[in-house]
């Protein structure tokens, strides 16, 4: 595949994902994985999970996994294409919708749809978690880290970066393998 058509396929995949991302990037991880691992075999499931982890270790919005996928598949042009692709369509909707929001802000259907979206988003993010955990927590050591880290994220106010750093240090120490 030549580089122009590779960039075009990346743009098409991520622009479509943009319009599906109700609830943010975490909702579209399974579809993103399906696209870049199965439909276009650009990455393996393990590479996908690794890029996701790497993105969590960087500052900024959690859509950065998209940047890394583009970079891995097609270098810097790829990173720009996927980042702008996943941001573009939803941003355009936001830009256009912002002016008319006040007209339907108090409408009954708006409240119903927003209420209806919530369980779907919950199911999607749960699916993202399940798919990631299946790849990243196959051994008892990493599975234990997942459980403990989830408890820390949920029930303490510990800084997320601290939890990530501790998990990486624990991994590096070799006690998990």
């Amino acid at each position: 595949m030549n580089s122009a058509s590779l960039l075009a396929s990346l743009a098409a995949v991520f622009m479509q994902l943009s319009l599906l991302a109700f609830g943010g990037t975490n909702s579209i991880l399974p579809e993103m994985q399906r696209q870049v691992v199965q439909v276009h075999p650009w990455l393996t499931a393990h590479e996908f999970a690794a890029l996701f982890a790497l993105a969590q270790a960087a500052p900024g919005p959690n859509m950065l996994v998209v940047t890394l996928i583009g970079w891995r598949v097609a270098g810097l042009p790829g990173a720009l294409v996927t980042t702008l692709g996943v941001a573009g369509p939803s941003s355009l909707l936001t830009f256009l919708g912002y002016r008319v929001w006040y007209r339907f802000r108090d409408a009954e259907w708006r409240r119903l749809v927003q209420h209806g979206l919530m369980p779907v988003t919950a199911g999607l993010i749960m699916a993202s978690a399940a798919l990631l955990i299946r790849t990243t927590s196959a051994e008892w050591g990493t599975a234990a880290i997942t459980v403990v880290a989830a408890l820390l994220f949920l029930f303490t106010r510990m800084h997320p970066l601290l939890v990530l750093a501790a998990a990486a240090a624990l991994g590096a120490s070799g006690v998990l393998s």
Partner: protein
Amino acid sequence: MPDAPAPPSLLQLFLGFMSIGLYGFGGVLPWARRIVVEQKRWLNAAEFTDLLGFCQFLPGGNVMNVTIALGARFHGAIGSAMAFVGLMAAPFTAVILLGLVYDRYSDLPMVRHAFAGLAAAASAMVLANALRIAAPLRARPFGIVVALATFVAIAVLRLPLPPVLPAMVAMSTLLVWRFGE
């Protein structure tokens, strides 16, 4: 500081969102609120909550949508573009540098092991996010059914999202309308 600060200039928008992008490890939204509402006072708390409600109604990351909408509010399309570039410039660079470092050293066993730990904790972050969002469903039996059906369709059957999403949202909205959950 005056009670009603002047609207931010393009440069102030750019720099403000750049600091949001730099701070936000593992969830930018609390930082966005802190900087936009408390520090810069571009919006008051009620306006921010209202804006967030709008952003959650649309696809796309919430912080990204807040960025676009705030940029548009103060400076139209150019404002949106400047705020977006401000938000993304530093994280974009940082994540690619991390990628380069990972590529360079991922053959070392210690780096591979560190990475296995990091990846496990990163998955836990998504799990915690999912549980937090699912918690209010305890009072909504139909909501639990919809969430489970969505989970099975995507994680177990691995169905494509483009048909599943509208079908589930339509079903879920009908249930809310009919049974008033």
